[in-house]
C-alpha cells in the first residue's frame, strides 16, 4: 500500500464524558488511512493519535470484529453501521469513503439506549426484553431429544433460523424514526414461535415481550421499513407482521 493511496479524512465524532454530560461533536483529522482497513481500525488509529496527543481516546463498543457479536454500534454519516447493506460497523471498509471526506460518527440515539460514554450506549433494555419472555421454560439441559425426533417443516425451520440470526445490535432502533424496537423483538418472538418447542408459550411470550418493550420507552412501529433495510442480518418485516398477529390474537384471547 503506497502512501499516496491513503485517505485523509475529517471526523466529526460525538464526545460525551458520561450519561450526565451534555456532550457534543468534536472534529478530528486522520491521514493516510488505508482503504483496506475496517472502520473500527480507522477509529483505533484515531485513538492512538489522541493518546499520543495526551487526549482521551474515543470510547466505542466492539468485540468480535467479524459481524457476529452485535457490539459495534456507530451511526455513520446518517446511517446505522454506515453506508452499505447487511454489514456491521466492523465489516465496513474505508474504501467506501472518498479522500477528503467528512464523516459524522454518532452513537445510537434512543431514549431507551442512554449514552454511557462517547459512542457507547446502554443496550440492556434488550436484555430485559429477552428476560421477559425470550426463552423456552422447559429445561432441556442433559436430557435433550434428538433434533430429528420432532418433524419440522423445512420452511419454518429456515424462517426460525433467519430470525435467530439477529445479533441484537440495535441498528433497527437506531434507524427507525420512532426509535422502535419492533424488528428486534419480533425476530426474538419468531425464532421461538416457528418451532414446536416455542409454540406452547408463544402467546404469553408475545404479550410479555411487547409489554416490556413499551415499558423500556421504545417508540411504536409505523412501518417505514428503515429497520429491515439497515439490519446487518437482513431480518425481514415479516417477523413484525407475525408478532403483530400473535400479539393481537393473544390480546383478544387473554382472560
Amino acid at each position: 500500500m503506497s502512501a499516496e493511496k491513503g485517505l485523509n479524512l475529517t471526523l466529526k465524532v460525538w464526545r460525551q464524558k458520561n450519561s450526565k454530560d451534555k456532550g457534543g461533536i468534536e472534529t478530528y483529522q486522520v491521514s493516510n488511512i488505508s482503504p483496506d482497513s475496517s472502520f473500527l481500525e480507522m477509529i483505533d488509529i484515531l485513538n492512538e493519535q489522541l493518546i499520543g496527543e495526551g487526549k482521551e481516546p474515543v470510547a466505542f463498543d466492539h468485540d468480535c470484529r467479524e459481524g457476529i457479536c452485535g457490539s459495534c454500534s456507530m451511526y455513520i454519516n446518517g446511517q446505522a453501521h454506515g453506508p452499505g447493506r447487511a454489514i456491521t460497523t466492523c465489516q465496513l471498509h474505508m474504501r467506501e469513503f472518498k479522500d477528503g471526506e467528512t464523516i459524522y460518527i454518532e452513537p445510537w440515539r434512543a431514549g431507551a439506549f442512554p449514552v454511557i460514554k462517547d459512542l457507547m450506549v446502554d443496550r440492556s433494555a434488550f436484555d430485559r426484553i429477552m428476560a421477559s419472555g425470550g426463552f423456552v421454560s422447559v429445561n432441556t439441559s442433559g436430557n435433550t431429544q434428538d433434533a430429528n425426533a420432532i418433524p419440522i417443516e423445512k420452511v419454518n425451520a429456515d424462517m426460525a433460523f433467519d430470525a435467530a440470526t439477529c445479533i441484537g445490535c440495535g441498528a433497527c432502533v437506531a434507524s427507525c424514526k420512532n426509535a422502535s424496537a419492533m424488528l428486534f423483538v419480533s425476530a426474538k418472538v419468531s425464532q421461538f414461535s416457528l418451532l414446536p418447542q416455542g409454540q406452547t408459550e408463544a402467546k404469553q411470550r408475545a404479550i410479555n415481550m411487547v409489554n416490556q418493550m413499551d415499558e423500556e420507552g421504545f417508540g411504536n412501529c409505523t412501518n417505514t421499513g428503515a429497520c429491515a433495510v439497515e439490519c446487518p442480518k437482513e431480518i425481514s418485516l415479516e417477523n413484525i407482521a407475525r408478532m403483530n398477529r400473535e400479539y393481537l390474537s393473544a390480546s383478544v384471547a387473554k382472560e
Partner: protein
Amino acid sequence: MALSGLFLIFFLLQHLTINFTSVFSPETFNELSHFMGTNFVVQAILQPVLAFGVFFHLAMGIRLELMNRKARPVKYAYSKPGANSSWVSRNMIITGITVLLFLALHFYDFWIPELKIKYVDGLMDDTTRYYPELLHKFENPVRVGLYVLSFVFLALHLLHGFQSAFQSMGARHKKYTPIIEKLGTAYAVLVPFGFIVIAIYHFVAH
C-alpha cells in the same frame, strides 16, 4: 390506526362512487345524496360511526406521533432517512394534518350548511338542491385548487397507509402482500384522482 384507517378507506370509496355520479347524471347524484342525507340508518347510525372513526384515527395518529417523538429525545446531528425509507412513510403526520385541514374546509363547505338547510331552513324534503349546491362549490378556482391540493396529500397519505394497515394487523403473506401493495398504490392514486376529476370537471364544464 390500522382498523380505523381501513374503515376510512372503505368510506372513501363509497363517497367517491356517489360523487362521481354527478359527472354523468345529476338526477342520480340528487337521488343518492338525498338518500344519504335523510335515511335513518345512514344519519343515525353510519354517520356517528364515521365521525367516531375520523376522530379516533386522528386522535390516535397524534398520540402515536407524540409518543414516537418522545422515544428519541436527542436527535442525530446528521441523519440520512432517505437512504432506507420513503418520504410518504415517514411523514404520515404531515400528510394527515393536511387532510385534517381539508376536513375543516369540508365541514365549513358542506356539513354546517347541510345542517342549516335541513334543520333551520326546513328544506329536508327538497330532492333537487344537491347538484346545484355541488356546482356552486366548484365555481371558485381557489377552492378547486385547495381541493386538488388536498387530494394530492390524501394520495400521499394512502400510498403508505393502505399497505401499512395490513402490515400492522399482521396480514402479511408471501403471495398476497405484493398484491395488496399494488392494490394500495392503485387505490392511493385512483381514488384521490377521481375526486380531483370531479372538482375540475365541474369547474371547467359549468
